[in-house]
């Protein structure tokens, strides 16, 4: 495995070295270098330090593991592979991803899962252990967003305006969501047995990665949010 000390390296030079190592590498002393692992289809990248924005953008099958926090736009437009973050991540996590999985031990910022989509056999999954900011799942078109609410700072599991513009996919929040206001175009209901079976493998993987009691987490209660298919967005921009 290639070892790269990123201290003083610019993003372009660091990423070129990562590509030469065919993906299998450990990066240390990372400090804000952007686009790490962008588009890679193989290998495993371990990152120590703080990776810059757009970590794993367009990821195409490689796996990335960050031992610390990550910044904005993790997994931007990723297509396949996994990103595991042993910490928190910034805004717009999983922006427009259409495949692969992102697991975050702690919390995420605003607009987690914005414009996630699914395509044929592709089903992206975004799992957040703690809480998320406002605009969770904004314009979501597909895939699964799972927020476990394991945070301990007493703040709500999500901020304002969750699922605004959502027209596909599913959001699961481990909370009864009593005080949350959802837009009229989505349906929020308590997750049932079938729903829980659907998310079980992701919860199990979260616990394998970060620890935790899978059964206890699955005991919920979970709220499942889906678009209201009887009231779709239509004729918003064009008349047909």
């Amino acid at each position: 495995m290639l070892h790269i000390n990123a201290s003083g390296l610019e993003a372009a030079a660091l990423n070129e070295t990562v590509r030469r190592g065919r993906g299998d590498c450990e990066i240390t002393e990372c400090l804000g270098q952007r686009f790490i692992g962008a588009g890679l289809d193989r290998g495993h990248i371990a990152v120590r330090g703080i990776p810059g924005n757009a970590l794993g953008a367009y990821l195409s099958g490689a796996s990335i593991e960050v031992f610390g926090n990550a910044q904005d736009a993790v997994g931007d437009t990723m297509d396949a592979g996994t990103i595991v973050v042993h910490g928190s991540i910034g805004d717009a996590a999983g922006y427009a991803m259409r495949g692969g999985a992102i697991y975050v031990r702690d919390s995420a910022g605003y607009r987690a899962g914005v414009h996630m989509k699914a395509y044929e056999e592709k089903l992206p999954v975004l799992v957040i252990g703690g809480r998320v900011g406002s605009f969770l799942g904004e314009y979501q078109a597909g895939g699964i967003i799972l927020v476990l609410g394991l945070h301990t700072d007493g703040k709500p599991i999500t901020g304002y305006f969750p699922c605004t513009g959502m027209h596909g996919g599913k959001v699961f929040l481990r909370s009864p969501c009593k005080d949350l206001r959802f837009p009229g175009k989505v349906t929020a209901r308590e997750a049932g047995g079938e729903d829980l079976e659907e998310i079980r493998p992701y919860v199990a993987e979260y616990c394998r990665l970060f620890g935790g009691d899978c059964a206890e987490i699955l005991a919920g209660p979970f709220t499942c949010i889906t678009p209201d298919s009887s009231d779709p967005y239509r004729q918003l921009y064009v008349a047909n």
Binding site: L31, G52, N53, D91, Y110, S134
Partner: protein
């Protein structure tokens, strides 16, 4: 000839960073300059700048006025203007380090000044008002002169260039401040002039800003009714004037300022308890022309503290961290780690949620 800044509109991207010691402990400028290095891609070399608080303890009773001059005749005109109004106790060129990365510098001077008592009596205003009016007058009326810093025991240092080069140019390692703010600029269609770099300041209020205020012109029209003249067409200049107007002249608290410029949506106000709902509604109605729409993350500097604030939709990133008596604020966590690798409690404030850090009373 290329148009000067102020003759064209300048939207901008950018990076911000700040550090403050709650104990009033002074730090050299090295750390804040280093924090801008990992965020280099957020700037494009057309503007960088810093503000330091507590840097002029020997002249703490005097207004420190930093001015760019096009040439010596502009300087002579401006000095004649200043001498009619101020007792100038010291004047000098700001010491700089000539480096190839920073070119085309104007004349850069600083003056330590006290308003003439007779002038204050004539105008029947307090000294802050007197200084603010004098600064605006120079910037509007005296061609080739631009005051870019005018508070007590603080100073702004800015230039066209990358922020880390600007920091070296101004020899910031030689200054000691209890609070620093920094900015790297990414103006996207600009002539990029020195005066247009951040921080923007009036008296001891300074603003560094990452974002793009779409309400700029509405804000400008409002604030110009109260004697401010926006000379550079940048949204950040307006924000510095808004801070001065609401805090100094209207006497609002920092929290109230945040509730004006990043007011919650009416739907959000509707969910608040009665008393808070009344207060938020009042501020939105009273100062509707000062609501800033569009993306921003800002750090407002003032004597004895800093306030960080995101727009209510949080369209720009901003994180906060701590270590002992120090509090760090930056566009990216990497910038905080560059200042303090062991920073703790890294968190991202919500949109419209002000983060106010004050130095212990008596420690600055």
């Amino acid at each position: 000839m290329r148009p000067l800044e102020g003759q064209v509109r300048i939207p901008s991207g950018c990076a911000i960073s700040a550090v403050i010691s709650r104990e009033g402990r002074c730090m050299s400028g090295e750390g804040i300059v280093a924090s801008m290095v990992p965020m280099r891609e957020r700037s494009n070399g057309l503007g960088g700048g810093f503000a330091g608080y507590g840097i002029y303890p020997d002249y703490r009773e005097f207004f420190a006025i930093h001015i760019f001059f096009d040439d010596n005749s502009c300087r002579e005109t401006c000095e004649a203007f200043l001498k009619e109004r101020f007792d100038l106790v010291w004047a000098e060129e700001i010491p700089v380090r000539k480096i190839p990365e920073i070119t085309d510098e104007p004349l850069i001077w600083r003056y330590f000044a006290a308003p003439l008592q007779s002038a204050l009596r004539d105008m029947q205003v307090d000294e802050d008002t007197f200084v603010a009016r004098s600064v605006l007058k120079i910037n509007v009326a005296l061609k080739g002169c631009y005051v870019f810093s005018s508070g007590k025991n603080m100073g702004v240092f800015k230039a066209a260039g990358y922020p880390e080069d600007v920091g070296r140019f101004y020899r910031l390692e030689e200054y000691e401040a209890y609070a620093w703010t920094a900015h790297g600029r990414y103006p996207t269609n600009t002539p990029g002039w020195w005066g247009g770099a951040h921080p923007f300041g009036l008296l001891d209020y300074t603003v560094v800003h990452n974002g793009e205020i779409s309400s700029y012109d509405a804000n400008r029209r409002f604030i110009e009714m109260y004697g401010y003249t926006c000379t550079l067409q940048t949204d950040t200049e307006v924000m510095a004037y808004i801070a001065d107007y609401l805090l100094r002249r209207q006497g609002l608290t920092l929290e109230e300022l945040a509730s004006v410029i990043a007011a919650p949506f009416w739907s959000t106000i509707g969910t608040k308890p009665e008393r808070e709902k009344r207060q938020l509604s009042y501020l939105r109605a009273m100062f509707s022309g000062l609501l800033l729409t569009g993306p921003f993350s800002i750090v407002l500097g003032f004597t004895g503290g800093l306030m960080a604030l995101n727009d209510r939709l949080k369209l720009r990133s901003m994180v906060v961290g701590e270590k002992n008596d120090l509090v760090f604020i930056a566009s990216e966590e990497a910038a905080i780690r560059a200042m303090e690798p062991e920073a703790e409690h890294i968190w991202a404030p919500a949109g419209g949620e002000p983060v106010i850090v004050r130095v212990r009373e008596g420690a600055y």
